[in-house]
């Protein structure tokens, strides 16, 4: 979780990612940031994030992002 929070903090500084649960809905993660985030995650974890994974539900919270990464790592 620490790692995910760190990456989130890098792509978008100054947000309380630990407690946020509507990152997409609230506009914290806008389209540009999500594309950057996806690039970072793919690189960092050596995973392939396909269009099927690019849905708001997977990015609403740090926990959701972690779950996505873990699913793709398997």
């Amino acid at each position: 979780m620490e790692e995910i929070l760190e990456i989130l903090g890098e792509v978008k500084p100054g947000v309380d990612f630990e407690n946020a649960t509507d990152l997409v809905g609230s506009g914290v993660l806008d389209s540009m940031t999500i594309i950057q985030l996806v690039a970072r995650l793919s690189d960092e974890y050596d995973i392939e994030i396909t269009p099927l994974d690019l849905v708001p539900e997977n990015f609403e919270s740090a926990a959701a992002i972690k779950a996505l990464v873990e699913r793709l790592e398997d």
């Binding site: 806008d30 389209s31 594309i35 690039a39």
Partner: protein, 502 residues
């Protein structure tokens, strides 16, 4: 039929219940759009200003379109302000255009006092519900002429004082005459609208819809990061035509999106605003060979477009797509540095003449005089042409080829180089999804910034295999995600200022 409102009302009489503009939440029929626009117009007209700027500071919604048209009904013109624009930049824009009113929405209204704006601020939700004063609006219309301004559009991304192009009703009517005719737009069209209302490309799908009874379906921006939903949205709205910036089309191609979801109703794919890379275009064409594809080209100062090319043959990845020929009722000339007409094949600057050409820049006679000049090829009578700053040439088919911006054209090792040509070469490489070239004049070095799989050495080899030695960049920067500006185009200003820190 001298104003856009005359055309809009004609459409409303033919198709009162057709959807005019919709987004995820709202859908205005033509009769509702006209009713709300007139209500807004009545409220603004009470201020008794004519031919002055009305700032529309709203998110891209059907209501925003009604507010824009409402400004026109009031006898004034609109300036759409990007809701994401920093307050400092809004201040600068306001200092140029001196709006007499701001139309906004609840969520944004709090920012208005910070801009120092002193005039009347209206909430769209309040003024769009009130009854219209038909008599007042009628008398305003009677006094209007077709060269009155409809909107003023500020070019984004430039530094210093923003430049606002003033575009008239006559400009938009002449311009959309071409667009509607060339692409056969009618009431069966549903446009999936990607570009913001403060960007000239939106003029095309908005006003060609309003003149024909077509439906403008606003695509929420977030769908460009959730592309499966994007396709679902296009299908839900039965979108059959799109006019997007190439960067948006490239998102789809780079993700190989059609493996997962397909647009079902699409018949026309148009693009403009930046160079469309042929590799990504070929992805679209190979998936949907039966669609009509066209490359449109032009600046805000010619309303939106001055030349276009309907794709009618195969292009290899890395070839450059022609920008074609002048639109119907638009004139283009290619002028060399001596102010003479270029010979076939000779590179020169593109000048545009005719009814699409805007009046000039608001409150800026100096910049207007620099760009809107007497036709150098016609000394017999006054004729104003617009200097685009774009370098073009005719190919062997008599089609115009875009070579680059005059300000991107560089002299390097004695050669005249178009940075765009290097970008094309980079884009043709396997696994490259985006590329932008910069020139550092002080060091006389070319820098290639790219997004994609190849390592720097491989990238260098790829470029070397496609361009002459003197065009090979000396520095390569592999970027995780290419930055884009609010219009969705590659943010070259940001790259120029920040590439050293990447």
């Amino acid at each position: 039929m001298k104003t856009i409102m005359d055309h809009l009302e004609k459409t409303m009489h033919s198709f009162p219940d057709n959807i005019a503009v919709s987004d995820e939440e709202y859908a205005y029929s033509y009769s509702e759009l006209v009713r709300r626009s007139k209500s807004v117009g009545t409220a603004v007209a009470a201020l008794k200003f004519r031919r002055r700027a009305v700032a529309v500071y709203m998110n891209k919604t059907p209501g925003c379109a009604a507010a824009m048209l409402g400004a026109a009904y009031s006898g004034n013109f609109y300036v759409v302000i990007d809701p994401k624009m920093p307050v400092e930049r809004i201040k600068k824009t306001f200092s140029v255009v001196e709006p007499v009113a701001v139309i906004t929405e609840e969520e944004l209204a709090v920012n208005v006092p910070e801009t120092g704006f002193q005039g009347s601020t209206f909430l769209y939700s309040e003024i769009s519900e009130k009854a219209a004063d038909e008599e007042l609006l009628g008398s305003i219309r009677a006094d209007m002429i077709d060269t009155d301004p409809l909107y003023c559009l500020f070019t984004s991304g430039s530094t210093g004082v923003p430049k606002g192009t003033v575009v008239s009703h006559a400009n938009v009517i002449s311009y959309t005459d071409w667009f509607i005719g060339a692409f056969g737009i009618d009431e069966t069209f549903v446009f999936g609208s990607q570009t913001p209302f403060y960007f000239s490309m939106s003029v095309t799908d908005l006003y060609s819809s309003l003149r024909t009874g077509a439906h403008l379906a606003i695509i929420p921006k977030k769908y460009f990061s959730f592309p499966i939903k994007l396709i679902q949205y296009l299908n839900d709205k039965k979108v059959n035509a799109i006019y997007w910036v190439p960067s948006a089309l490239c998102i789809v191609a780079n993700l190989q999106l059609f493996k997962y979801a397909k647009p079902e109703y699409l018949k026309m794919v148009l693009f403009a605003g930046e160079v469309m890379p042929t590799k990504q275009l070929n992805y679209w064409i190979s998936n949907f060979p039966e669609l009509k594809y066209a490359n449109l080209f032009g600046p805000t100062e010619t309303t939106d477009i001055c030349t276009y090319y309907v794709v009618n043959r195969h292009f290899e990845d890395g070839d450059s797509l022609p920008i074609g020929n002048a639109c119907e009722n638009c004139g283009v000339i290619v002028v060399n540095e001596d102010g003479r007409q270029c010979a076939p094949g000779e590179e020169g600057e593109l000048y545009v003449r005719g009814s699409f050409v805007a009046g000039g820049y608001y409150n800026n006679p100096e910049k207007t005089a620099e760009a809107f000049v007497r036709n150098p090829l016609n000394t017999a009578y006054p004729e104003i042409v617009y200097k685009t700053g774009d370098i073009v040439r005719y190919n062997e088919f008599g089609e115009l080829i875009y070579c680059g911006r005059k300000d991107f054209q560089i002299k390097h090792m004695g050669y005249r180089i178009e940075l765009g040509e290097i970008e094309n070469a980079a884009m043709a490489a396997e696994g490259v999804s985006s590329a932008a070239c910069l020139y550092d004049a002080q060091k006389d070095s070319i820098i290639l910034i790219y997004e994609g799989k190849p390592e720097k050495d491989d990238m260098c080899a790829e470029v070397k295999s496609r361009v002459p030695e003197y065009m090979v960049p000396s520095q390569y920067i592999r970027i995780k995600a290419m930055p884009h500006n609010s219009n969705g185009k590659i943010d070259r200003v940001w790259l120029k200022n920040n590439y050293k820190e990447i």
